[in-house]
Symmetry: C2
Subunit: 638 residues, 2 copies
Amino acid sequence: MTGSPFNPEGDPLALDRETMRALGHATVDAVVDMLVDPSTPCLRRATPEEMAERLPGDLPESGAPLEDLLGILRQDVFPFMSRLDHPGYFAFIPACGTFPSALGDFIGAVLNPYVGSWMEAAGPTRLELVVLDWFKEWIGYPPSAAGILVSGGSAANMTALACARESLMGSMSDDAVLYVGDQAHSSLARAARLLGFRPEQVRVLLTDERQKLSPAHLAAAIDADVAAGRRPLFVAAAGGSTNTGAVDPLPELAQVCHDRGAWLHVDGAYGGFAALTDRGRRALAGIELADSVTLDPHKWLYQPMECGSVLVRDGHLLRRAFEIAPDYLKDSVVEGGEVNFADRGLQLSRGSRALKVWMSLRFFGATAFREAVDRSLDLALLAEEHVRSRPELELMSPASLGIIAFRRRAEDEPTAAAVNARLVAEFERTGRGLVSSTRLHGRYAVRLCAMNHTSAAEHVREVLDFFATAALPDQRVAAEVPSRDATIDREAWLRERSSVDLAAVADVPLFADLEPTALERVVELGRQVLVPEGGTVVRRWETSRDLYVVLAGAVVATRGDRPVARFGPGTHFGEFAALDWGAGYGYARQATVTAEEPSRLLALSPGALAELIGARPELDRRLRSVVRERLADAEADA
Amino acid sequence: MTGSPFNPEGDPLALDRETMRALGHATVDAVVDMLVDPSTPCLRRATPEEMAERLPGDLPESGAPLEDLLGILRQDVFPFMSRLDHPGYFAFIPACGTFPSALGDFIGAVLNPYVGSWMEAAGPTRLELVVLDWFKEWIGYPPSAAGILVSGGSAANMTALACARESLMGSMSDDAVLYVGDQAHSSLARAARLLGFRPEQVRVLLTDERQKLSPAHLAAAIDADVAAGRRPLFVAAAGGSTNTGAVDPLPELAQVCHDRGAWLHVDGAYGGFAALTDRGRRALAGIELADSVTLDPHKWLYQPMECGSVLVRDGHLLRRAFEIAPDYLKDSVVEGGEVNFADRGLQLSRGSRALKVWMSLRFFGATAFREAVDRSLDLALLAEEHVRSRPELELMSPASLGIIAFRRRAEDEPTAAAVNARLVAEFERTGRGLVSSTRLHGRYAVRLCAMNHTSAAEHVREVLDFFATAALPDQRVAAEVPSRDATIDREAWLRERSSVDLAAVADVPLFADLEPTALERVVELGRQVLVPEGGTVVRRWETSRDLYVVLAGAVVATRGDRPVARFGPGTHFGEFAALDWGAGYGYARQATVTAEEPSRLLALSPGALAELIGARPELDRRLRSVVRERLADAEADA
């Protein structure tokens, strides 16, 4: 250590070189053993009580030997989690790093570069630019595009939305509108909420029967807003949706956005790196037309968390959106020269996420990564084929960018949901893998996402064989029995009240079996709306979110000039918009509703509905079942 | 590898156990050598051209041996950056990790837990809760407080602001107002901008002569907003400002906020971990009264980037603010039970930042960290003493939480600025350390921030001796010579124009020496404002941002009932608010200005001013020099 400036006398946190080497080697050996431990289950759960007992919260004043700490991690921490890199991990979004990536993270943690300014980190900044250039090339972006590595897809989507707003509007404006398909990732709702977009500024649009956002549907929604004097700001398309891997029709959406001055963002957090392969590039055709793109290296580029990225085609917009310097200096730094990454996103302090990407891509070479992605695409096709070949299984969604959905066949929907949920849980308990579930067009589906380079054909077959062959107990699910707290003489109770509304509400099937206090609450929370003949209750595309119950009269729902439904007394409409899609946003109205005759409606706000549902969860089930029934109609039209 | 599920046939990115061990050991050895290399300068810069030559951007299809990659990093990447852990690094905010912390990051990168949901990561989630409990205890927060580890102070401040808004208002509202002292970190401006707060919703408040936010000043600003029907939402106080280490009067600010229903946030990103020591805890007294606190472990808790944290005293508010689930499920999960960290912040995919904190704190024990922080506090006091003992040096700001400011004495301000800027650059070139500069009360100051556990008394003395003794060439700075593009017969030029305004503008000293086209532009961009006698131009605390030039008449500025200045023809006022504090926000007006007699003013918007300054930078210098002159008055009143 002689001569090094880094170990002066009295430093209480310094270690000498030989000690560091020894600690490093011991850690490498221990963690490699944990990595390849053959007894590792795919997921092991634990209760908060168990974890509190295993890991008490005290912090001793004195230190502890490394081996003790590694022992605690091995015994009490790492067994209790899912191994996202397990070959049988097909749930949610798998994540499988490479060992050289982890070495990149380690090197960064030891040397700790500050990659916020060129001045302080010319080398690491250049490394990040190199990595971003690879990404740009893969998706067909021009050299003038710019990007930044961030913590993940949530930060990337937020950065893109902020960049669009700053570029097209400057500071926030009430008339800006955002459009997302209902298959968009929840991080887009969260980003919109965080950035101060109010419920009336977000249009959630129904996707079509292939779970894709329809360009005509989008165009109609935007045109309605423009006609109402609002400004279409941002459209989020999916470059591989999380749910089914669906890719929205990007070239057509780009045209719609271009014609209307809106910013097109493609969320390729999950699927974007499929562009490394020929098949993936074809599937993602048009991504290069987007104004911004999210890509997560910690997903399909096999990097450990946390590593996301956002690319902006017109690169200088990214800096303009985030630079904090006074306005009059905004153009003083030439892009392509001394890049300060702190000027391209939220973070000021930031390390080198590029190191792990660079280390792993250079160590294995690009070909190995292409092969790994190709293998996943093959596995999804293999899974689809296997599902089609097994009569016990039903294909719910074909292979798309590594994802398929299927389920064990059952005689009806409730039985299928119960049986498959049970199989998902049982498969988890085998420790040999994990799948997750979703709903497609309102139907329960088991979702298999093949993305780990560790996964092979045998692992896919193992899951599907399990679902096809697992013994089932009595699959019959008892018809749902509404709970009744007490037998109530409703008539007698009603006679005591003079309110006509209460009587009318009690007759509504949606509220059937609600006890009197709940019915009374409906009346208290509801707002009576009187509509003259020909009067409009809601307009298509608007974001009002009330649920309406028809108490008297009749209303008709139309799309364009076409009537699509009629609602008479006791029925309800508007449940799409009333239910929460995420972060307080709801679907745009699917139809215009006008009164055929003078009508009396009961309107329930989302807040009122939330309270009722909180007290009586069966209301939620009923509403969602109606949504499912009406979904097919609406999709056909989307 | 037999028996492990992790190395199936055909995985193109798999490595066997022995290979991983060997790569790991080689990396440990190489990076430890880089860490302790005695030839490492504190900062080495490089141009974009040099870096592009050293690191070309190609990605070979085939791989490369690890030793080649480590060679590139050693030769072409890591030499070109600042070593934030260098014992002589006293610039900006130093950052010095520990080796066990880096091992924690490495372990996390290899095993890659998803620390977003309890179900998938009970062990790593518990580890993060343990670490957050330590932080809560250190700052005196109750067990019911909750927190989350994030990428750094920027994300933490943004999270706190979003949490406050969601908790107090729900979605965004135009009447919400934010208050920050002018010493607040720029990340607060960026967060406000990102979250959709418009310029009129942010009050930048002048701090007092000790750079602290005055409670009376804050109360007056809030009360003015309340009287105008606005809602005070969020006050950001500094728990150690980045500039001078100043701690705002937290107990008094908490009282002001509490009485007015505003959320108090303390940004302790830099200084908060001083609470580990007795002295620090005293300095930060009252931090436990804040509604939320930012603490950055990657600063004064010696963790590698990226590791920040935010704590919220009323813990359940954090989850309520970020959970994306429908409203009616918000209370279904009991806090203290199965914590899902993805519900407490922006990120969904997230790794374990807790591992490095836990590893290093447990390895060295709490005492070693207390000693390290105490050492930095001692170093700052030593530096102050040393400055006071050297007649060549002038103390600009006394030691506060590890920061002092000083400068080499010079005969006047311009000379001092030039001489010290030159010494800062020369000291950088020695490679033995780095300091940064700032402006305090408008005066140039050299800032020394002692925070690295590697730094000892000798390193502090080395800096100060250098500044005291470095030979100076002729220190005399030539008086600033306004540039003149051409000799212009202004009178002749004016005769050609009939506009009275142009003539009036040409007589304003602020615009002296502007060439005719620039003067013409002033007239084009400016807006003439006619004010009757007794009419009000601006009101104290409002956020209008125009700069005013008096063309005719006279106006008087008052605070309360006290006149503080009078402005006659040719003078200007409002420059505080007109200049950009950050992200488009400006100071709240310092005084109410009314017309003593009928007056004619020229108003320049911030955008117009930015354009003029962009073309004529001397305008900026003149305005800022006026700001400096007027600062002392305003501060005395703050």
